[in-house]
Each structure stands twice: as structure tokens, then as C-alpha cells.
Amino acid sequence: MTTANSRELIARRAEKEIANGDYVNLGIGMPTLVANYISPDKTVVLQSENGLLGIGPFPTEDEVDPDLINAGKETVTASIGAAYFDSAESFAMIRGGHIDVAILGGMEVSEKGDLANWMIPGKVIKGMGGAMDLVHGAKKIIVIMDHVSKKGEPKIKKQCDLPLTGKQVVNKIITERGLIEVTPDGLVLKEVFEGYTVQDVIDSTGADLKIDVNA
């Protein structure tokens, strides 16, 4: 399991995937953390699929507005230049390819870039929310997650066992152990993070990895 430290490391690394001027959707959970690390040198507009373009920081107690939440249902503020709109417009934005980067959590990612992150059959019924639309809409899909499950089993696998959110949709996976690109030739390990070796990553990954680490 990732510690608070490794969650910060993942979020900080994910932030580097965001360019100045990008419109970005951050999924619920760990992806939300990325907002805390966006460089002040970048103008980045965060989209919330419940109808807000321009998520600001969490409110002070005085600023709390019950009618202003993010997709995780947390009270937020709107940043300067923000716009509100309805859910159809919000997903027109997402589905129409206008979001530059979506950073999502994952339960499993396959070597082809399939993503499973919405359901564990027989255990919980929650629903997919906007994830199935996001994976097909954003120009770049980055999954950030723990490298292995609570039981220590690989979450990056030849094939997903859980019900899919989308097929061949993930571009990059960032975990506490490294950064992996999904390419037409399979998974390519591009970066290994402090405290792990290339062999550590290979051993904890359930699919073949090509190694292209500049170290």
C-alpha cells in the first residue's frame, strides 16, 4: 500500500504530465491530490464533471456554499475565469475531446491499456459515474494507483479480471514504483522511483514490461 509520502510522490509526478494552459479532469480519490501540487508557473483549468470548469481551492468555513461541489461531492470554490454548465454540456466537453488530460484512479490496468476501476462483482454496487465517458474523451488518460493490491498482487496485468471501464484507453500508469507507458508494442517502463529497482517493478507487475529507463 502507498503511504502518504508515496501518494504525494505519485501526485507530484502526475502533475508533470500537465502542460501550461491544459484543461484537466481529476478523478475522485488520489487524483484529487494532484491539484495541490500544480506549479504556480502553470495556468491549469480543472474540470469537474458535475458542471464546473475552474475548480478553485477548498473553501474557508465562511466561503462554504452547499450548491458548489466537485464530482467527489466535496465543497469547493470556483477559480477566476470559471464557468458553470449542465451535465450534458459537461460530458459534451469530455466526450468531444476538449479535455487535455484526465487523471484517474485504477483497480487494474491491462498490458493493452484496458482499465478496470468501477466494480467488484458481488461485493459492492456503486456505479461507474463519469469514468466510462472520461476514458474515451480526454486526449491523454493517466492512471495513478498503488502498484500492487492490498494482498500484494499485481494490479498491472496481462488482462483485467474485473469488469472493464474501457478498452485500450490508458496512455500512462504512474505508481509509487515507476511510470509505465502503454504503447502499441506493449507496456514500457520509463521511470523507476526512489526505493525501487527495475527488477522490483518487473517482479511486481503481472505483464511483460519493455525497459526504457534513462537513469
Partner: protein, 228 residues
Amino acid sequence: MKTIYKSAQEAVEPIQDGMTLMVGGFGLVGIPEQLILALVEKGVKDLTIISNNCGIDDWGLGLLLKEKQIKKMIASYVGENKEFERQALSGELEVELTPQGTLAEKIRAGGAGIPAFFTPAGVGTEIAEGKEIRVFNGKEYVLEESLTADFSLVRALKADTFGNLVYNKTAMNFNPMMAAAGNVTLAEAEEIVEVGQLEPGFIHTPSIYVQGLLQAEQEKRIERLTTR
């Protein structure tokens, strides 16, 4: 020009057992609080509810769920509600989970006279099972059909007496599309103003979509209070 109801009870009076209702809101934000409470009080049952979520255990649509008034739920995310999970797993409640963008677009299509459209969301997943898949420009899409409702219940910040509506911040969410997709649309507004008081260039829901109005105060419960 539109019927302005004196109470939520009066507004929901024509809603009958077995009807299909769309109910606005995302989480607890933008839900028509008093209309939902009146449905609970009325005890109408076997409802099919189309709404992004299903409230929480003790507020919003969760109240209808608790009283077992819902037969079928069409939603995108229902993870806030333990009773939902119990009824769904036991088979008491029929559930149709729909990707959020597809749900929004199915409702928008219903109001706009579009019976079906192709979308990429859900292709290659169980959502697309049994549905037509077609390739456009080398990419696969699934055919989804539109949704309409006997009644749509929406929540606005302001309404004028013609039925024009303005929503507040992210309390807009599914409300405008649902207003258009209801055979009869009832709008619960925090304030009803005289016609002419709303700026014509900044109306979110034009009056043509709204049949009945109710002025009602809102509790606006907060699901996840997060502060700096």
C-alpha cells in the same frame, strides 16, 4: 402563466403509482427537496426513478428508497447509500447503471426528440452488451436510446411566473435536461419572481419546458464538508 402550487403536496398530487420520474441533482446538490418529501408522504410506489444518484440513507431519494417506493433506479453512481446496496443485492430493486455522460445525453436526447445516438462510453464493457456497436472513423461506438419521463422534478434558484428558470452554480447539473425531458415538469424554486425579472439572455431553462412551479426553502444538506 404557469400553475404555481401552494404546497409540495398539491404539486405531486397527479403523480401515480408506477410512473417514471426524473429527479434533478448531483449528490444532494440541486435536488428538489420538498417535492421528494411530498412523494414520501404521498406514499406513491412502484416508481421508476431516473437520477444521477439515489440520495443518502436519510435524505433525498434515499427516503423513497427506505420506504420501498422505488421499483427501478436508472443512475450512474449510487455508492453513498447502504440501503440501496442491500435492496439491489437482494433483488428487491431493479438497477440500471449508466455512464454519467451517457445518462446526461440520453435525457438531453429525450427532451430534444432524438430517439437514439452513438457514444463511445461503455464500448467493450458490460454496459454495451446486447447493444448495437458501429464503427465511425475507425472507432467503435455503442447505440444508446433516449429517456423521457411522466414527470420531471427539478430544483432552481429562481423561477419567473412564466416558468423560466435559473440555477445556482453546480446545482444546475442534470436539472435543465430533465426539465426538457419530462412530459410534465415541476420546478421547485427557492424564489419565484415576476415575469420580466430574469434577463432573457441568461435563462438556463426557457419557460416552454416547465408546467408547474413551487416556491420552497431548501435545507441544502452538505454531503462532504471540506474546508481549507
